[in-house]
Amino acid sequence: MIALPLHPSMAETSTLPDEDAVRDPRVRAAQAGDKTAFAALYREHVGRVYALCLRTAGQPADADAITQDVFVRAWDKLAEFREECPLSAWLHRIAVRQVMMHHRTTSRRLRRVEPTADVEGGATAREARPDAAVDLERGIRRLPEAARIVFVLAAIEGYAHAEIADMMGCTEATSRAHLFHAKALLREVLDG
């Protein structure tokens, strides 16, 4: 519906070529309207999408809603997915956009809310992880928004700065600076 000239970085079309991307018949089926196939894709990818939303949103209570938004949006936009990159990368791109929008539209409320719940919201993950990991998760949650998103994408998800810059609509240098800042802050928290 929107008739505005979107900045290329905000487009949700897949732009990251990956020769290893395997053409998944479930993707084709979902693109043709098969919701059972889409449900299977959801089951396969929800763990990584939720982890990304949980860590980048900063507020565990928001991760649930943002994850839902990601998959509803993905269903709407699936016809535009051309399998030039893995589906997980395409979903991550949508997730980053949704998280950034969420921060933008709720920033005033978020500033007023003192975090009370742990970031390690998933019960399975919480039970499985040692205390050191919990401390690191808490440290990540306390990072400034941009530094947190870059750290999660670069250090945990393994994206290159060029890809992060593309997702976030910033320069590679800015992405590097946020990562450097995030790591310095985390070392302070973890070693202090």
């Binding site: 008739a3 505005l4 919701k35 449900a39 929800v46 269903w75 933008r104 005033r108 690191l136």
Partner: protein, 188 residues
């Protein structure tokens, strides 16, 4: 590699790449998809609105593609004046909220609107015209659905329509605030 750096890197490696949500999110996602598909099939005020917006979209594409020409020719003072007024504001406080999260929608819209107003002088007039028109059309649709809900307050599809119209309005405002700004609002 120094010790603290290695320590952080090793701790990061120990984090799980996947975390299961505390509950199954699929039923809610499925319900939202079904609701959207129902709305898409059902002729209603939003479909009519979508038609009008489609026309506005076509006009917008033409406007954007002509931005260079506009710049060469110079924007007429009357054209600039016509978009210098703030976005038409609905009066959310004047109507009773129907949806439980309407206050959140209104707050998000107000935040985005304020952000857009702060950048108004930096945005090209043709883009502002499209944004203003889209917001006006969606505000009319929201008003129409709200009026229908006064008559049929328990109509689930009307409530879904209202939810969708409010979401669409946020989408328009978000997209507008994400546009790269142009110094002095010149057409580029």
């Amino acid at each position: 590699m120094d010790e603290p750096k290695r320590d952080l890197d090793e701790r990061v490696k120990g984090l799980p790449r996947e975390i299961a949500p505390p509950r199954d999110l699929w039923p809610d996602i499925d319900a939202r998809i079904v609701a959207r598909e129902k709305r898409a099939r059902r002729p209603n005020v939003l479909v009519a609105t979508a038609f009008v917006v489609a026309i506005a979209s076509a006009a917008a594409v033409a406007l954007v593609s002509r931005r260079g020409e506009d710049h060469d020719a110079g924007a007429s003072p009357s054209a600039v004046m016509s978009v210098s007024a703030p976005l038409a504001s609905p009066a959310p406080s004047a109507v009773t909220a129907v949806l439980p999260d309407e206050a959140a929608y209104d707050e998000a819209a107000a935040t985005l609107r304020a952000e857009l107003e702060a950048r108004r002088a930096e945005e090209p007039p043709s883009v502002l015209r499209v944004v203003d028109e889209n917001v006006r059309i969606l505000d009319e649709a929201i008003g129409a659905v709200r009026a229908a809900l006064v008559v049929q307050p328990n109509d689930a599809e009307l409530r879904a329509d209202l939810d969708r119209a409010l979401e669409d309005k946020l989408d328009v405002l978000r997209a507008a605030t994400e546009l790269p700004s142009s110094p002095d609002g010149v057409e580029r």
